[in-house]
């Protein structure tokens, strides 16, 4: 859409400037409300164990799953708990999955001195053919086998299985189902073209400065400093920019200073200090023109466990003077002009990628939506705050746009649900590697990538 409107006016660049420069006012934000209160932690107490979050997850999702099971396998199926199972009886059980993986990094194995093992290096995938699936409910657990894809599923998913118990104590699964798409939200999107720019993985502070030019080009296009009048008028339709994590690069996480002696590291500054200054200047340029939502990511200076709390505004003194800068949590949920956005910086998807045979980030994103939970592997393999009262990662309403940041490449898909849900799934690529950002059109939920490569043949899509 950009290039169609922009190309005819490109000749305007070769003409002398007009007496009255045209002004393109940016479309004002019609409605914005932040819905990520469940992800904001007030007081933090780590004196609890993680059993609470699993218990709450199961108790909250059980009624929905029982309803789905009845709808799928008949109203008169027997819903049993594991303690009430009888051998040979066909019944349905709702529980939490646990995948027994040999290669799963275990702290106990690492510090075990008897084995004298070198700690396992991080692998891209930890799955193995001999992994097993167990189903756990409040009291017992049972091994699952049968029509269930062990490699594909991950720990922490709430699932309903239909089958019967064998005489050797295993449960033979004939069919299984997940929570499926949550109930839809009413649609009140805009009637004219309005765009939201999604970018992630700016990777500031990295050793190579290749992405800096592309980042500057991105900022210039959004603020209207680049291009002819056609491009500027298109950029005026961008109502918001969401930066989905990893604003700092992985290089800023220098671990050497921890291991080196104090006298060697006395005068050195943490690499993240320079990177945050650069981020502040970039955000300043953006905030003077467009509202920006900044989500923290894996390498950003905030807490490690999900949900990540917003970056502190003292780190961004220049940019936080503007009210257009919003520092938000990861995961982030908000209503923009009547369209519900929900997204993460990608840690949940990449964690599922490591422990499942699914390779495609878009497939994993769709699967989390169908499983009804943003990150089922938390707290098993992904750090998570020990919630006790409610699990905020359970999807209770179906968002209109569901995105994840820091994916290897850009992908998008419009998913249609049975109850009329329409979800746009977007995997936002890592900007420092691909120099690509995404433009989501709020009117018709379409998405197009926009690439800022320096030496490429086509610079804009």
């Amino acid at each position: 859409m950009f290039s169609e409107q922009a190309a005819p006016t490109a000749q305007g660049l070769l003409a002398p400037p007009t007496a009255e420069p045209p002004i393109f006012p940016r479309l004002a934000v019609a409605g914005y409300s932040d819905c990520s209160q469940p992800f904001q932690l007030g007081e933090r107490s780590f004196s609890r164990q993680y059993a609470h979050i699993y218990a709450v997850r199961l108790a909250t999702m059980r009624p929905g799953l029982e309803q789905r099971a009845r709808g799928r396998w008949g109203n008169d199926i027997a819903l049993r708990r594991l303690s009430e199972l009888q051998e040979g009886e066909k019944c349905c059980v709702v529980g939490t999955l646990f995948k027994v993986m040999q290669l799963q990094p275990s702290i106990l194995q690492e510090i075990s001195e008897e084995h004298n093992l070198v700690p396992q290096p991080p692998l891209p995938k930890y799955i193995q053919p001999c992994d097993e699936l167990m189903l756990e409910d409040e009291l017992q657990r049972i091994k699952l086998e049968g029509a269930i894809d062990v490699q594909r599923l991950v720990t922490g998913t709430i699932v309903a299985v239909y089958g019967c118990e064998q005489d050797d104590g295993r449960f033979l699964v004939e069919d299984h189902c997940f929570a499926d798409l949550p109930p839809p939200l009413p649609w009140s999107g805009p009637s004219s073209n309005r765009f939201v720019l999604l970018a992630s993985g700016l990777g500031l502070g990295s050793v190579s400065g290749e992405a800096l030019l592309s980042t500057q080009l991105l900022v210039d296009v959004v603020t209207g400093h680049l291009g002819a009048e056609g491009e500027q008028s298109c950029a005026a339709h961008i109502t918001r920019v969401i930066l989905a994590g990893n604003l700092l690069s992985q290089n800023t996480q220098s671990r050497d200073t921890i291991n080196k002696a104090k006298y060697l590291t006395k005068k050195t500054q943490a690499a993240s200090v320079e990177a945050v200054k650069m981020l502040d200047e970039i955000l300043l340029q953006l905030c003077t023109s467009v509202p920006v939502d900044v989500m923290p990511g894996e390498f950003d200076p905030t807490n490690y466990t999900l949900p990540q709390q917003p970056l502190h505004r003292c780190m961004l003194p220049l940019a936080s003077a503007y009210a257009t800068l919003r520092l938000v949590t990861n995961p982030y949920q908000a209503n923009l002009d009547g369209v519900r956005f929900l997204g993460t910086s990608g840690q949940n998807i990449s964690d599922i990628f490591k422990y499942s045979s699914m390779d495609d980030y878009l497939e994993i994103l769709e699967w989390t939506l169908l499983a009804g939970h943003i990150s089922p592997t938390a707290p098993d393999t992904l750090g998570c705050y020990p919630f006790y009262k409610s699990d905020p990662f359970i999807l209770t309403e179906c968002p209109h746009v569901y995105f994840c940041g820091n994916a290897p490449h850009f992908q998008s898909k419009l998913l249609q649900g049975k109850e009329g849900q329409r979800v746009l799934l977007v995997t936002v690529p890592d900007f420092s590697a691909t120099q690509t950002a995404c433009l989501v059109n709020l009117r018709d939920l379409s998405c197009q990538p926009i690439t800022f490569s320096s030496f490429g043949a086509d610079s804009e899509d």
Binding site: A51, A55, A59, T60, E138, S390
Partner: protein, 113 residues
């Protein structure tokens, strides 16, 4: 500085210690009714008011049964009131008298679990 301060002013002598007590407790527990309450207790923030009537053993038994019932989820690390309210929100219908008892004895630290 007062002259005649003794160590037993700040750390009263305790004659009886239950089997499950952790050794070396620094928190000051003024006149706790140890003979009434033999449950395993953790270090608490709010000391019990000195003029508290001792809790009813039948009440403690009811609270203990509430703790051990598996339907309401794990009981460690949260107060009984928090657990009751969580069970209520999840629709598990915990018994009402428990909540009344918990609110009645709000300043009794044995209500915390």
């Amino acid at each position: 500085m007062e002259q005649s301060r003794r160590i037993t002013d700040s750390f009263p002598r305790r004659r009886r210690r239950g089997p499950g007590r952790p050794p070396g407790r620094l928190k000051d527990k003024k006149d706790k009714d140890k003979d009434k309450v033999q449950l395993k207790v953790k270090v608490r923030d709010c000391p019990r008011a000195p003029s508290q009537p001792p809790p009813d053993p039948a009440l403690m038994e009811m609270l203990r049964r509430f703790d051990l019932s598996w339907e309401y989820g794990p009981c460690t690390g949260i107060t009984r009131l928090q657990r009751w309210e969580r069970a209520q929100e999840l629709g598990l219908s915990p018994p009402g008298p428990i909540r009344d008892a918990l609110l009645e004895h709000r300043d009794n630290p044995d209500v915390t679990y």
